[in-house]
């Protein structure tokens, strides 16, 4: 037995113990469920919204042990039947519903609801699920209005039920490693001064629907849709969604906030419907934020294009005075760079924080399977210096962590672990609210055509 008198409680110990105790108390209502005598780790789940994103989440959740699908809901039979059939193939027996209210009233043994419906219904569905006593995993963006997003946080708080938002990069082990071990942990980037980010997509046709499978005008009106075209292409209409910054930029600007640990202080933006004839939301937009970090202002740009895939796809690029991190859900678009002025990274290679590239940028010339390893090969002619003021080239490195699961799976696992074991959520309603406020301000700034500012209180639900 240890001698307590020989280990005096330090201030640090006290704070650490207090924090752990606080976390346990906060998680107690959820942990208690696992100790209710059933001893089961099974989580019963319903899905509201079985379109493209709903199917992605279903497929990811199917790989998680102990998740049991009890119901699926979608107003369109095509989506509903698809989800029901695929779940039946994997041994589940979900009850199908057109109306989420009927689902929540009928199926009583549901623990959690996954919501992947159009943005304008997130608040309505989430608030109803919380009021019915269910935990909620809701797709981003929280809502297409700040008021809607706030109502979701309030409902979670009042019901004491978990609310996780689908900013799944926060649970991606590569992103977590980058944040904890590279950006904040060992500060390999030095003082971050700038961020750029982008999501560039090629032109795509509007979605249609199979002949004879459309919803009636009355049914569409009942659920708030003007017509079948808007129902299928809701992301492009202001009534239903927040536009491309909400659809694509929300993932990445959430990473800006999360990685820096602060919310922006100002936003300016420009965008327009310059290409498509059948859309309400802008098809290209650029936003500029200022982040007031402890070390000074970080200026960040974000660029969403839906008319070209040129420019490198999708990534976030954090730039500091000693290094830079280009990170993406695609491992191929992820790279670390060390400035010539920064200390060598050999120590961090040994510790597994960074890795010398084995392939791609920064890697030694490829060795054929039959060639001897370790032979120095002559490179081509060195790049001509075109300007004597050019700085030395960056050295390229890799992050030695990869995700070997579906990209949404770790985030869903975190949600289910929070229900079962009280694990802290990686993207709670409160923190996602700050992201929603950040994103929706871009749309305001595009309309206002001037710089808008945030007050710290704006980010609190």
């Amino acid at each position: 037995m240890s001698d307590l008198s020989s280990s005096p409680l330090t201030r640090r110990d006290f704070l650490s113990t207090s924090a752990k105790l606080g976390a346990f108390i906060a998680a107690a209502p959820y942990v208690a469920r696992g100790a209710d005598g059933t001893g089961s780790d099974q989580v019963n789940v319903a899905v509201i919204g079985c379109g493209e994103q709903g199917r992605i989440l279903i497929n990811a959740a199917l790989k998680i042990p102990g998740v049991r699908f009890k119901a699926v809901c979608d107003i369109w039979p095509v989506n509903r039947n698809y989800a029901e059939n695929i779940l039946k193939k994997f041994g589940h027996d979900p009850k199908p519903f057109e109306d989420y209210r009927e689902l929540l009233a009928t199926v009583k043994d549901i623990d959690a609801v996954i919501i992947a419906s159009p943005d304008f219904t997130h608040a309505e569905h989430t608030v109803a699920a919380h009021k019915a006593g269910k935990h909620v995993y809701c797709e981003k963006l929280m809502s297409n209005t700040v008021e809607g997003a706030r109502s979701m946080v309030v409902a979670s708080r009042e019901s004491k039920k978990l609310l996780q938002l689908g900013h799944q990069r926060r649970s991606n082990p590569r992103y977590q490693h980058a944040k904890d071990k590279i950006v904040t942990g060992n500060r390999l980037l030095g003082r971050i001064t700038n961020i750029t980010g982008e999501w560039h997509r090629a032109v795509s046709a509007d979605l249609g629907f199979p002949v004879g499978k459309g919803l009636s005008d009355a049914k569409l009106a009942e659920y708030g849709y003007a017509n079948m075209h808007e129902f299928r292409n809701w992301r492009w209409f202001k009534k239903y969604a927040g536009g491309p910054m909400s659809d694509l930029g929300a993932h990445q600007i959430d990473v800006y906030n999360w990685m820096l640990g602060v919310n922006p202080s100002s936003c300016m933006a420009s965008g327009g419907v310059d290409y498509y004839k059948t859309h309400e939301w802008y098809d290209n937009a650029i936003a500029i934020f200022e982040y007031p970090t402890k070390e000074g202002i970080v200026r960040a740009t974000y660029n969403v294009l839906t008319t070209t895939s040129a420019g490198g796809g999708y990534h976030e690029y954090f730039m500091g005075d000693e290094g830079a991190l280009k990170i993406s859900e695609s491992p191929k678009a992820t790279k670390l760079y060390r400035e010539a002025r920064a200390p060598e990274w050999d120590e961090w290679t040994t510790k597994g924080v960074v890795a010398a590239p084995l392939s791609g940028e920064g890697a030694p010339p490829a060795v054929k399977p039959w060639e001897k390893v370790g032979v120095k090969k002559l490179g081509g002619p060195s790049k001509a210096t075109v300007d004597v003021r050019e700085t030395a080239a960056l050295s390229a490195w890799d992050i030695p962590v990869t995700l070997d699961k579906a990209i949404h799976q770790p985030h869903l696992e975190n949600f289910f672990d929070a229900i079962r074991k009280g694990t802290p959520l990686n993207c709670s309603g409160e923190s996602a609210f700050a992201t929603a406020v950040t994103i929706l301000k871009i749309n305001e700034a595009v309309a206002a055509q001037k710089t808008l500012t945030f007050a710290p209180s704006d980010f609190i639900a």
């Binding site: 054929k368 399977p369 039959w370 060639e371 001897k372 390893v373 370790g374």
Partner: protein
Amino acid sequence: MSESSSNDTRCAYTYAFFLIRLWLGLRAFFAGLEKFEKGGAYSFTAYYENMGRMASGITGASFLPLWTTRPFAHSIGYLLILVGVTLLLGIKTRLTLLAHGLLYVALSFGLMVVQEGEGVAWLGMHVILAIGGLLLVQYNRFALARD
């Protein structure tokens, strides 16, 4: 053609052949020797690791079974050193040039079957030089043991 001019030509051919012999001898010797190297150290262990990789690499990328590539890979280093030394010393030079040419034809074949065009061209230069040597071998001098 005067006798003096004929002597000059003969002298030039003699030097030309000597250069070819020297180049091919050095090239074969060091091509064999580097197969024993790994991480800056030379050993028989390194040789069999390097050659094992070569054999399995060619087998993996072609129709050649391992039982053909492995014996070739395990012997090529020793043969290149042997050919290199005999060329440098001038022992049975005509025969050695033929052996040198055949070794590089065999190596080229290995790269042909894995569609490594640049490597084939590179090795082809060795074969062409061996052919040049055979055409000039009558001018061989400075040899320990003539044909």
